[in-house]
């Protein structure tokens, strides 16, 4: 059985990727399951989707714990524990990462026995308009790596799943998918199908047993206000707004008022400050600032600059 997990951010098309791959397997004569799992169910937040495909009846259900192939559309998710990208990976797993960095860098960084392949990130990956196509690229690369899906079947599956979109969008997705499929074709069949799992091998999650308590003990009332600040929605961000204080006119209200999340407060000196722990990277502030004093840079670049400054 093929067990494949796609990891990405809401809006990058991982659900679509799993549906395209699922449809392709189905057209190739497989029994298929494909399903998305949302966390925050919001654009930018980590999500994953999974596909099971087998020639026989599939009796497994639920999340894939032992993936044969893990496809990562957004490499910033790998280091995020909540995204669970590396969960259940072992020596037989193949990991495909959409990244500017090399397989060696990722192997070292993750200290994993899994094989790692790179789906070379396009130079314009910072261009958010290209994001919708990542789903088709990932599905096509996965199809090639499984080695049982032909180019024609893949294209037919894309046409099935994107039928509601305009013809030029479908055409563009097909082109991008074909390029990715060809890029991976010399690695065709690299994904090793995992054996059947028995209930006896099931490793339960590391749950902590909680003794039964009276309601007032086990169901705590929250007395503190604004506890949502504990949730670091800054992790959703792919682009970071940065204020150029030389250009900021100190209007004291525009970015602060329009920021939907209230992540920009005006300091005592009259200049705004962005709370990067929570800024989701919508970039409304960039679009609204009259003197264009806020620019957006890829989050990855911003983090590299920060770590460079620290060392």
């Amino acid at each position: 059985m093929f067990r494949i997990r796609f990891h990405g951010r809401g809006g990058q098309g991982m659900k679509t990727a799993s549906r395209i791959l699922g449809s392709a397997f189905f057209r190739a004569g497989y029994e298929v399951q494909d399903a998305p799992r949302y966390g925050a169910e919001r654009r930018g937040a980590p999500i994953f989707a999974y596909v099971r495909a087998d020639r026989k009846v599939i009796n497994e259900r639920g999340i894939i714990d032992h993936p044969d192939l893990v496809v990562v559309a957004d490499d910033t998710l790998v280091g995020m524990p909540a995204a669970g990208v590396t969960q259940g990976m072992d020596a037989h797993t193949l990991m495909l990462i959409n990244s500017h960095e090399s397989a060696e860098v990722w192997s070292q960084r993750l200290n994993t026995e899994a094989s790692i392949l790179i789906l070379a990130a396009r130079e314009d990956v910072a261009d958010r308009a290209s994001l919708p196509y990542i789903g088709s690229r990932c599905a096509a690369a996965a199809a090639a790596l499984c080695g049982v899906i032909s180019r024609e079947i893949l294209i037919a599956a894309i046409n099935d799943e994107l039928a509601h979109l305009s013809t030029d969008v479908i055409e563009r997705n097909c082109q991008i998918a074909q390029t990715a499929f060809d890029q991976m074709s010399d690695q065709s069949g690299l994904v090793k199908q995992g054996g059947s799992l028995s209930a006896a091998d099931y490793i339960p999650p590391e749950w902590i047993d909680m003794p039964f308590e009276k309601a007032e003990v086990s169901n705590l009332a929250i007395h503190a206000g604004a506890t949502s600040v504990k949730v670091r929605t800054g992790l959703w961000r792919t682009m970071r707004p940065v204020i150029d204080y030389d250009r900021c006119s100190g209007c004291t209200w525009i970015c602060s008022t329009y920021c939907p999340d209230g992540c920009i407060d005006v300091r005592a000196d009259g200049y705004p400050e962005i709370d990067y722990d929570h800024c989701k990277g919508c970039l409304v502030c960039v679009a609204q600032c009259p003197p264009h004093a806020i620019e957006s840079i890829p989050e990855q670049t911003a983090r590299e600059q920060e770590s460079g400054e620290q060392t």
Partner: protein, 309 residues
């Protein structure tokens, strides 16, 4: 509730520069509804209790996290105003029994999406207005059932593509006039607002603070996820909704309807429609002249009526 309005919003610089609503909510990046809510909360302050019907914003408070500094109550889609009645009654009883001082009293605020306000919650809202319930109601109207994937609602505009109106002409129906329906109940206050016009929003919030009884706000809530545009355009889309005349800003008070911002020279509606993927079929693959002209004609007819009055 003691009625007072300590701040006066005359110019943009009077807008709050620090914010009360906690960050870290699960609302989408660029959420136009959250933009309205944070301004409402900045101005109303901590002495509030929110009654939230099921919808996107139910996710604001997922135990143990909440962006509010006070109470929050979750109700089913149809019954938020009924929940507000219960909370208001409980507060009034405590006040009467002197178990709560006037200073400790709080304002009861209902928040619902358009699915609840324009549809399922209509009878509970109507009944709350009949009983002259002292509460504030904010409807964040993103013109569809956004939390479940943007199915059409009674607030969906004509021709919009939603996940349940995917045909080549989009949603065949027309947006319900909730302002008129609410105003017909003669409540203390009804207004349409939008976060892209913050001063108009702030003035209206200030006005409703000085009143008691049912005080109703309908905020158009540009929705990057459901309307299909880049999140950074949220304010631009909202502003164009006003400048094209698609979303008239108005208020109902003392039996009169007054328009608070009349666009001097209305931009063509296509400036607004063109930015949104849900209307893309009006422009691609070929321009649907008749479709665009129909939407323009309806907006023109509205303003002709208003300006002649």
């Amino acid at each position: 509730m003691s009625k007072q309005s300590p701040v006066h919003f005359h110019r943009m610089k009077d807008m709050p520069s620090t914010h009360l609503l906690g960050t870290g909510t699960p609302m989408c990046a660029g959420c136009g509804g959250l933009e309205t809510l944070h301004t409402l909360y900045d101005i109303l302050g901590e002495k509030t209790v929110f009654v939230n019907a099921a919808g996107c914003m139910t996710l604001l408070s997922v135990y143990p996290f909440t962006p509010f500094r006070g109470g929050w109550l979750y109700t089913s889609m149809g019954s938020a105003p009924a929940g507000a009645q219960g909370v208001r009654d409980a507060l009034d009883i405590l006040l009467q029994k002197k178990k709560l001082s006037a200073e400790e009293d709080v304002e009861v605020v209902v928040i619902t999406g358009d699915g609840a306000a324009y549809g399922m919650g209509m009878s509970a809202t109507s009944a709350a207005m009949d009983r002259n319930l002292d509460f504030i109601y904010l409807c964040y109207d993103n013109e569809g059932y956004g939390n479940t994937g943007q199915q059409y609602s009674a607030a969906t505009p004509h021709a919009a593509i939603t996940s349940t109106s995917k045909g080549s002409h989009g949603y065949p129906g027309y947006k319900k006039d909730l302002f008129a329906i609410w105003a017909a109940h003669n409540p203390a206050y009804v207004a349409t607002v939008i976060a892209a016009e913050p001063l108009d929003l702030a003035k209206k919030i200030e006005r409703l603070q000085s009143l008691s009884g049912p005080r109703m706000l309908i905020s158009l809530a540009p929705c990057p996820t459901g309307w299909d545009y880049d999140p950074e355009l949220s304010v631009e889309v909202g502003r164009l909704a006003v400048r094209t005349g698609v979303w008239p800003l108005k208020e109902y008070i003392d039996g009169e309807v007054r328009h608070t911002k009349i666009p001097k020279q209305r931009q063509p509606v296509e400036d607004y429609l063109r930015l949104q993927g849900r209307f893309r079929h009006l422009f691609e693959p070929q321009r649907d002249e008749a479709g665009i002209a129909e939407i323009q004609a309806r907006v023109d007819a509205y303003w002709k009526r208003i300006l002649e009055e």
